[in-house]
Assembly symmetry: D2
Homo-oligomer: 367 residues x 4
């Protein structure tokens, strides 16, 4: 459905041509300084028309906060927000509308609901991700995250490696010039994540991330750490050997695990990669069929992103922040409940070792 999360919970609404798109973000910690600008910055990064790599439409996408904040501080109550759709009227019905767009959601929405929005993507429109990005901005602020945006945003492709970025740009422009489109991948790295996040067995951290990423429109794949290539490496090389860190805790020498072991973060960088397909809507003519089965040729009207990857970066960031904030809140409650219990002194060391070990290491260090 349209709700995601357990304690940090996002519910979105909106189609491409209705009055507005928006979200309710529930479970934000009370007492957080939060302004519309915090959210707007991220919405602007998601917005079309930022460079010649994205569609030239220029929607303003100004967020309107409705509730949950007073005097610039969150109340702990649900944060309602919305962004007006600039063009709210469905267009007039034309010959082109008789075709379900290939690899788009027109056909499946009709099969599922028996009815679909008359114009544009309806609920499957990329405008639906506005609510996600807004929620992600709130999650990120709640996590007190520091994000390396300047480096990421230095190039219009949002690829931080300059040579690769230029090659990507050339490939996208080539697709654009050919009235075609192209896909790509987004890699996300999360640093300084505390160990202990993720809920075995069904809600392993990588499972939550995979769920979140594959819920983003146009995604085709997800891999954590070594990913698909990891399947080809023997265990003796793939295993991440432990080493002692400066603070006495354990780290790993390599990080093929991608910062998650047994579904739980281990304190190393979490990194994963998401595949985005080429946008389905292209100006090129396509031989396909109408809803009534009649064969014909479709050429999409309007202007469209030749590649979603640059605009997908803030969406990947947002979904990541949402997942981590929820996982953090759940783990925090466990730690708080554990801290109320009397200590257990009778257990064998292998059942409770790290705390003891780290404490001793800490003692040694301070002596």
């Amino acid at each position: 459905m349209s709700t995601y999360g357990t304690l940090f919970r996002v519910t979105t609404f909106g189609e491409s041509h209705c009055a507005s798109v928006g979200a309710i973000i529930d479970g934000c910690p009370p007492g957080l300084e939060l302004s519309a600008q915090d959210i707007q910055i991220q919405l602007n990064r998601r917005r079309p028309g930022q460079s010649d790599l994205t569609t030239p439409r220029n929607e303003k996408d100004a967020v309107q906060l409705q509730s949950g904040i007073e005097q610039g501080v969150t109340l702990g109550t649900p944060i309602g927000l919305l962004v007006r759709n600039e063009d709210q009227r469905p267009h007039d019905y034309t010959e082109t509308d008789l075709y379900p767009r290939p690899s788009h959601a027109d056909y499946t929405y009709l099969e599922k609901y028996g009815i679909k929005a008359s114009s544009g993507g309806g609920r499957s429109s990329a405008r639906e991700t506005i609510g996600r990005v807004a929620a992600g901005a709130i999650a990120e602020k709640s996590l007190l995250a520091t994000v390396t945006r300047p480096i990421v945003d230095a190039h219009p492709t949002r690829c931080p490696h300059p040579e690769t970025a230029e090659r990507m740009k050339a490939r996208i422009i080539r697709a654009k010039d050919a009235s075609d489109s192209i896909g790509g991948t987004v890699t996300c790295v999360v640093r300084h994540l505390p160990p202990g996040l993720g809920e075995p067995v069904f809600d392993k951290l990588e499972a939550l991330l995979a769920h979140a990423m594959l819920s983003v429109p146009a995604t085709k794949g997800f891999e954590i750490g070594s990913g698909f290539r990891g399947a080809e490496v023997p265990g003796s090389r793939h295993n991440d050997a432990f080493v002692q860190r400066a603070d006495g805790s354990l780290g790993t020498r390599t990080n093929w695990s991608g910062g998650i072991q047994g579904g739980i973060s281990n304190g190393e960088d979490v990194y994963f990669r998401v595949a985005f397909k080429s946008p389905a809507t292209i100006a090129r003519k396509q031989d396909t069929a109408k809803y009534d089965g009649e064969a014909g040729t479709l050429a999409a009207r309007g202007r469209h992103d030749p590649c979603v990857v640059p605009r997908a970066v803030p969406i990947v960031e947002a979904m990541t922040a949402i997942v981590l904030m929820d996982a953090l809140l759940i783990q925090k409650s466990r730690v708080a409940a554990m801290s109320l219990l009397p200590p257990i002194t009778t257990l064998p060391p292998t059942m409770v070792m790290p705390q003891k070990a780290r404490q001793e290491a800490a003692n040694t260090t301070t002596q």
Copy 2:
């Protein structure tokens, strides 16, 4: 947590050395003929010791049904079931236990819970998947699924392509002989799935499948349809053009979408691929550190699977059946609710076209 699903819901329990592992399966349709044997067949496929490619341990894994079934027919109430652990006592504590196994869950469970099972994988053990496989067997029976098991199971690798299967076998035996391990991928194809399954926006069908697959131990990646390679193909080639099927409905000429568009099944085959890493537990010596940070060398005791892929096949099947059964029940309720409403006659054709088109096609056919 340990619960998965909305209307078809699985909750599992159990560690490697406790009394039993098991599950409660809630939401099974009443009136389904279901025997312990239906479940046992799948548990046997998951079981170790089936060939020289898997660990020679021979656990019997006999399922004991506790509730929810009478006279061989489901009552619609929760089905409780369990499988005894053969070796229920934790082993004596040895030098090896001072090491968190690299790329295993020992360290992260301790970080998360402050305590862990003294022996084996505890909750992260592959024995946890017994509950999933049992639930999957029930889901599959509920779906009235016909599964092409003979072909899949013809070779011990469960690869249906004989030449590839032999190459896989050789690679696994090479790893085994080197006291090492190796990974691999499992591809799953679902045929004859009705269109309309999957709930936009957060619970797209591919997002649910990705979540389910990445919740399986040792998985590192998921891709649907064209997957990561799809990112490199221009839209003009990646788009699945529509064609009219014999029954008047629309199908697609190609299927790079993997049977899902806009998060909703479209009636074509759903197929996806899951990456499994090489098992972390290997007999080879590994230079690593103890819980207390002291560097040292670990060599795992006992016998272990050199490759999880053959045994992973029934687990992938099970999680797939669980996801689909849940998605089907949710869609069924929508269709039932829609069918109660009076028909809408005033909508423009693009909002409701397919039904009309198909109905007309059907009328034409029957004339």
Copy 3:
């Protein structure tokens, strides 16, 4: 949290002095004719200022639909809606604000969140119920419910028994004239509910109704059927003996069960009663303490409802419709799944009797 329901799901936002209050209603069947007016009618019934029994404030409470509907027909996607708050600015801070209002939520919100809205009830304001009433109007329309509003609304107390209504009115006016307040009870009767709704064991239909009712502000009690008085009646009188209905199905001679047995509706009228306390905010002076513990005297400013009962009626109706719509969707999915299974012929008659019996009765009737 702020979300209610499984398949028909309501999420609300809004405080008393923020920009707007609203809701996202997810899971509405697609293809339902639905207008803003359908919702406005119910919001008007909830609104203050309808008679001299309610507060004279006159907020317009005009609903603004945001999404999920096109051409007056639901799309099956989330319906976003909001109602502007007329007075959005918190008032200036005065001496009175130093007191947590007795039996109000000021103190507990501060304890829970460490911060609270500076004015009015914040999230605990009765304005929060606007989202519920709007969702209830949608649920009611989805249920194709016919509601006996004219009779209920004939008197400003919404008591359909004229003499009692006059006595209630006199009691409320007496409280009002004394700058005081008074409580009351609302009884709700649901007719023509199909049997089979409600999910044992934790989600019995009466448990869902109790949850929904006690989530309404100012409620203190819930009883189903015979309720508290039923506890005093011996089983021989309390039991509802079965009788055959005209259509061959079974009904009950009495209905102390309130239409629910074993947590499942039985086809008889479902009826329950909800207790509402006297409103906490009264103009009378109250000896109480400030937040800092200093004793003092508080007299509430402004005008307030002397009794919430008349305005509570549409809220009780709304929550009832929401619960029933969700329960119906869940049961519909079960029935649909059952209908796909092959019939079971080998079971003893006591396990499957009613269908057979009813079918035979039906056959007899038609012969």
Copy 4:
């Protein structure tokens, strides 16, 4: 369904005549000392045959822990447990089975599921509550609760007021001697509950308690604090004025609110009352109808509780502990997240007063 709770989550299974009844308790804090005996004590209190007020059946109901505990300490993983059913075989089918028992769940289960267990109550049997009571014992231990059981259990009715207890006993024996049954109410008082528990708006603490209580078989009503009688008292008397407690915090002079305001615990005693109807199964003859509609006379076989109230006390306690443990975990996560945020210094005092006030009071006290 058969799952209850968000972070502390209970899932139960089992009918009256299947192999066993049991539960999976997920979310128990790790590191809690927990033995089978902790659970058995509560199961024994629930068990029939404890006095001449309950049915003389003597089921042993010995709990078998399956998982989640090692060396007498919880691991934080799901705790699986079960209790064997002594008489697992359904009885032979007799004339009596042709009657759906009046006010029992026979008829509604058949309507809902199209099939029902052939013997006894099936899933609606009181044996289903075994899982709840076991889960409650774990929740109670997690809450480090001290329960005044000796006083409660001093009399077989579990009424702590000796004179009333004797009158209750006489009334129950009168019902028993008349082959009849009788109902009653259970009042539960929770002392020393911290303020801040309960989640507005749909999951108010009283709403969660009402849900939990009305999910217990044979309940007909719930009231919190002043309850139904509170509806008759004017606000000027019903309001709970604040007073400063010795520790500087605020308490209330009266407690008509029942320790909950705005859906959130306020630190005062939480108390509520639950109505239980007279048991439906009585030995007296009842004029009723068979499944096929034929009128006839039913006399229940076997021995039955003339009153469920004494045995209901541990079930009410259990459900209360489950609700509170879940609410506590959720609030703990919020407090932990808040504690990470930088302090806000710019807010008006009414938005953040209590902390300041209490801190100042504390400072004054310690000077």
